[in-house]
Every structure is written in C-alpha cells, then in structure tokens.
C-alpha cells in the first residue's frame, strides 16, 4: 500500500479526531481571510509554527512544508509591493503561509485510515441523495490496488515501445495503457459481479 504523509506521534494534535482538525482548518482558513491586519495574521502564523515542535515535528519538517511555496510567496509579495505597499504584501504572504502550514499540520498528524474513517461518517447523512458509502469504500480500495498495477503495465508498454523505437512518444504509451487497463477493469467488474458483491 502507498504510504501516506502521516508522521507518527503522541501529541494532543495526533490524538484529536480527524473531524475536529478539519473543522479547525476550515475555521482558520476562513478566519485569516477575514482579518485585514497583518500583525494579527503574523500572530496566527507564529502560533501555527509553534504547533509543529509541540506536536513533535522538527525544523526540517516545517521547512519541507514551506520550501515548495517559497518562490510563489516571493512573487506575490513583489506583486503587492508593486501594486500597493509592503503591508499588503506581508498580509498576503502571512495569510497563505498560515493556512498552508496548518493544513499540512492536519495531514501530518492524522493517519490516512482515520481520515477515511471520518470520511465514512461524513458520508452517512449524504445517503438520501444517492451517495453509497460501500461503493465509495470499494472504489477507494480499488484505486489503491490499481496504482501499482497500472505502473507495472506502463513499464511493460514502455519496454515494448522501446523495442519499436517509440519510447519517446507519449501517445504510443498512453493509448495501449488505457486500452489494456480498461480490459483489466472489465475483468475486475466481472469478478466482483460473479461473487455477488451486493452494491445496492
């Protein structure tokens, strides 16, 4: 199975339920957009950053969350500096950093299985509008099984096309990949039906 982004720990944040953390994330995300003052958002960001060591995540983990967005943040700061002033730039950058760092914190401290469990609970009230939790669970487990299978089929096709001198062509790769895996999907569906898996 594919490893999630979860990092093990025993902090209060790790123990909090996934649902609470997601609600907190939504509240924080909405909150920082309503606050127009950069010093307040700076305090929010400082609090979020402080939660990392409190939850047992070291400096390199914080950096790993910031690194992918650093260029974008610098560009946004420069654009605001050019259009407005440095306070506006700071507000935008602090806001995005606070939201992204908190959201990453939720992902880092929540097991994928716990997320899926709260997803199951969240789907129950959606039953009347046609959402079937069993179907969703079946689909999720199939995706996780299909990913390595498709990756294997893809590398087989790449080898075959290399022998034909077509290994540089994405199309020569993608069309056989889709058709082969669609045939496989039909077999899987037949196998599920043959075992009378009841979906309704």
């Amino acid at each position: 199975m594919i490893a999630g982004l979860y990092i093990d720990g025993a902090s209060a944040l790790h123990r909090a339920t996934a649902g609470i953390k997601i609600l907190a994330m939504m509240a924080l995300g909405t909150g920082v957009f309503l606050i127009p003052d950069w010093p307040v958002v700076a305090v929010v960001l400082a609090t979020v950053i402080a939660l990392y060591p409190i939850s047992g995540f070291g400096r390199h983990i914080i950096w790993a969350q910031i690194k992918p967005m650093i260029w974008l943040l610098l560009i946004f700061f420069a654009v605001q500096l050019w259009l407005n002033d440095w306070q506006a730039g700071l507000l935008v950058v602090l806001r995005i950093a606070a939201i992204v760092l908190f959201a990453s914190l939720v992902t880092l401290s929540t097991k994928t299985s716990d997320m899926l469990a709260s997803l199951d609970r969240a789907m129950v009230p959606l039953k009347p509008i046609g959402v079937n939790p069993e179907k969703v669970s079946l689909a999720i487990s199939m995706v996780l099984r299909f990913i390595p299978v498709i990756a294997t089929v893809a590398s087989e096709i790449r080898d075959a096309q290399r022998a034909r001198g077509l290994d540089k062509s994405i199309l020569a790769m993608i069309v056989p990949l889709i058709i082969r895996t669609l045939k496989m999907a039909d077999d899987v569906a037949d196998a599920i039906d043959a075992r009378s898996f009841d979906l309704d």
Partner: protein, 182 residues
Amino acid sequence: MKTKDIVYIALFAALTAVLGLFPPITLPITGVPVTAQSLGPMLAGAILGARRGGLSIVLFLVLVAVGLPLLSGGRGGFGVMIGVTGGFIFGWAVTAFVVGLLIEKLWNKLNVVNAALSIAFGGIVVLYAIGNAWVAVAADISYWQATVGAAPFLIGDAIKVAIATAACLAVKRSYPLISKAG
C-alpha cells in the same frame, strides 16, 4: 450505477495518480514545469463521459485530501489543496465533467476538431477560470493579473490537449465506453 462504472471510476482515479509519477518536463526558455498529471482529468472526461469522469477525479481528490502523496512530485494532503494553486486542483473535477459533457453530446459526430475544442474548453478555459479566480483571491490580485501569471503554462496544456484528443479518438475507435452508457 453498475459495478463496471465503479471500476472505471477507480481506474481513471488511479491512472491520474500514475500520470503524476512521470517526471515533469521543463519547457525551454520559460522554465515552466509541465507534468503529465493534468492529462488525467481530460482523459477521464473524454473517455468515461461527464458523470463517471467527474466522479473519478473527485475520488482522486479525496485520496489526495486524506493524505496520500498522489499529486505530481509526491505532494498531497490539505496543504497543497487549499494552497495558492488549489483552484487548479479542485478545477480538475470540473474539467473532467465539462469535457465529458461535451464529448457525450458530440459522440456520434466526433472528429479531431470538435474533440480538441471540447478538451481545450474543459481543460484550459474552464480550468483556468477556476484556478485563476482562486489565485486572485489568495494573492489579493486582480483576475487579469492572475491570468497573465498563468499564461506560461498554456504551452504545456496545449500539448496535453493534443495528446488527450488523439488518445480519446483512438480509444473511441477500439474501446468505446460512452455510447455503451447511453
């Protein structure tokens, strides 16, 4: 929804994840990275149609949200999804749905031109409308400025539209799924 539909939905969610494993190509001069992953929503819509295609991308996004590193470059989790480029990620579900809707409508008279236009509309026009609006809000800039900032990525997306069009027509010839669904 039949078992087969659920398996197809799962298949295209997985295919989108696998497309994220291909290393990104960096375009010359501009230095803009182009990943194969956004081919996934275009293909899902063009091959499965609106409903199944849209749901397959929703399923993919659910798996990213629960913390699996399925986005290109091994990214995932809430941080990327609600970050600055989140609109482009959520927009994929709409892309798949819109592309699927147009391809379904044109199914019996599908050709290179109208297939390419359908995929470009869903995969570029609609996706950028959502993605740029999100960037504009997040960065507190105007919609127009966000659009200018996103322009360098159009080259890569044009290439992907061409690939998705060719793949959609080839799959239609050998393994049509949309007419079967009726």
